[in-house]
Assembly symmetry: C2
Homo-oligomer: 193 residues x 2
């Protein structure tokens, strides 16, 4: 089982992943970018260098390819949870680049070599709630780009998830964390069946 | 004017580029990978890490995108010569990966965002001559992959160049270096017109 946690910064992906670790002690918890050795270096570049948007797109695709081949694929005999994946890849790129959603999905398909998640847990947040949460966080480059940008990305993520035939759990991130956790457990039961 | 020097390792691209520097003192001489800041890091990864072939492909594309946007494009008011470019990109990837030439050309087109070279200088070598030359060189990973591999890549480069509508100078790398230099100068006169 390979499951993605998706959503923009501040929606509470990390909190939900932490809660899940107790339920799935044998699972692999990974992330993009940064889940592979290459990914760590790529993450460093992207945050510190002012790369052209096309170069940035291909770096994220390289990270995705390496993560899928070296981390996800060899561990598919147990649950693999990833903090972000190609949904973020497509959405952030669409927000910055001139390529179409179709082209971006195609590029991501090449990077994943056919290994799609069995389910996606998508946390969505309102503008008011997001503002409140980001105040408390140390901001990195992507977060500094602003609330409006993040909400635009969130909208694209929803659009991509509505188009793709992937089992997806849409969650309101403002719900209490324990309630969200219960929804996630129930969804995962269905994915595991 | 943007011109590529193409050919596998050992064909004498560096020698010809050095001879050209005297003729074009105002030109920009660059290379792929490694012509941009990002490229230097990417080159280091690719030579030292055992990446999946798909990740490697996307890293080369990221380097190409960055090189074209940050180095080639801002200098197109003067001659830009690059030691390798997308021809190497397509050929090395085709030799390793499962993607078709058409798909690889399309990916490279995305990386270049429509900026194609005005001419390509392609140096070709025979097996005997290549063996002789590689003996004298310090070998990096790509070269260590062997003579047969390099010759296979050379064949793909020729095939790509024969298909694309780019002005190309096909040269026999075993000719004396001064003679090759004269052929190149004459070709560049034509490209400049």
């Amino acid at each position: 089982m390979y499951v993605l946690f998706e959503g923009i910064d501040g929606v509470g992906k990390t909190t939900q992943i932490e809660l899940l670790k107790k339920e799935f002690p044998n699972a692999l918890f990974s992330k993009e970018p940064g889940g592979s050795e290459l990914g760590k270096e790529i993450r460093r570049f992207i945050l510190n260098c002012n790369l052209s948007s096309r170069a940035e797109l291909f770096l994220f695709l390289a990270d995705r390819a390496e993560h899928i081949q070296k981390v996800v694929k060899p561990n598919l005999n147990r649950p693999v949870f990833s903090d972000r994946g190609f949904i973020s890849g497509v959405a952030y790129a669409f927000a910055k680049d001139t390529l179409s959603l179709k082209e971006l999905c195609k590029l991501n398909n090449l990077a994943m070599e056919g290994i799609y998640p069995n389910g996606v847990i998508f946390l969505e947040i309102s503008k008011t709630c997001l503002k409140e949460r980001l105040k408390k966080k140390k901001l990195d480059r992507i977060e500094r780009e602003g609330i409006e940008y993040l909400l635009k990305v969130q909208k694209i993520m929803r659009r991509v998830l509505k188009t793709l035939p992937l089992p997806t759990l849409f969650l309101d991130a403002s719900l209490p964390k324990e309630e969200l956790h219960q929804h996630i457990l129930k969804f995962l039961e269905g994915v595991l069946k």
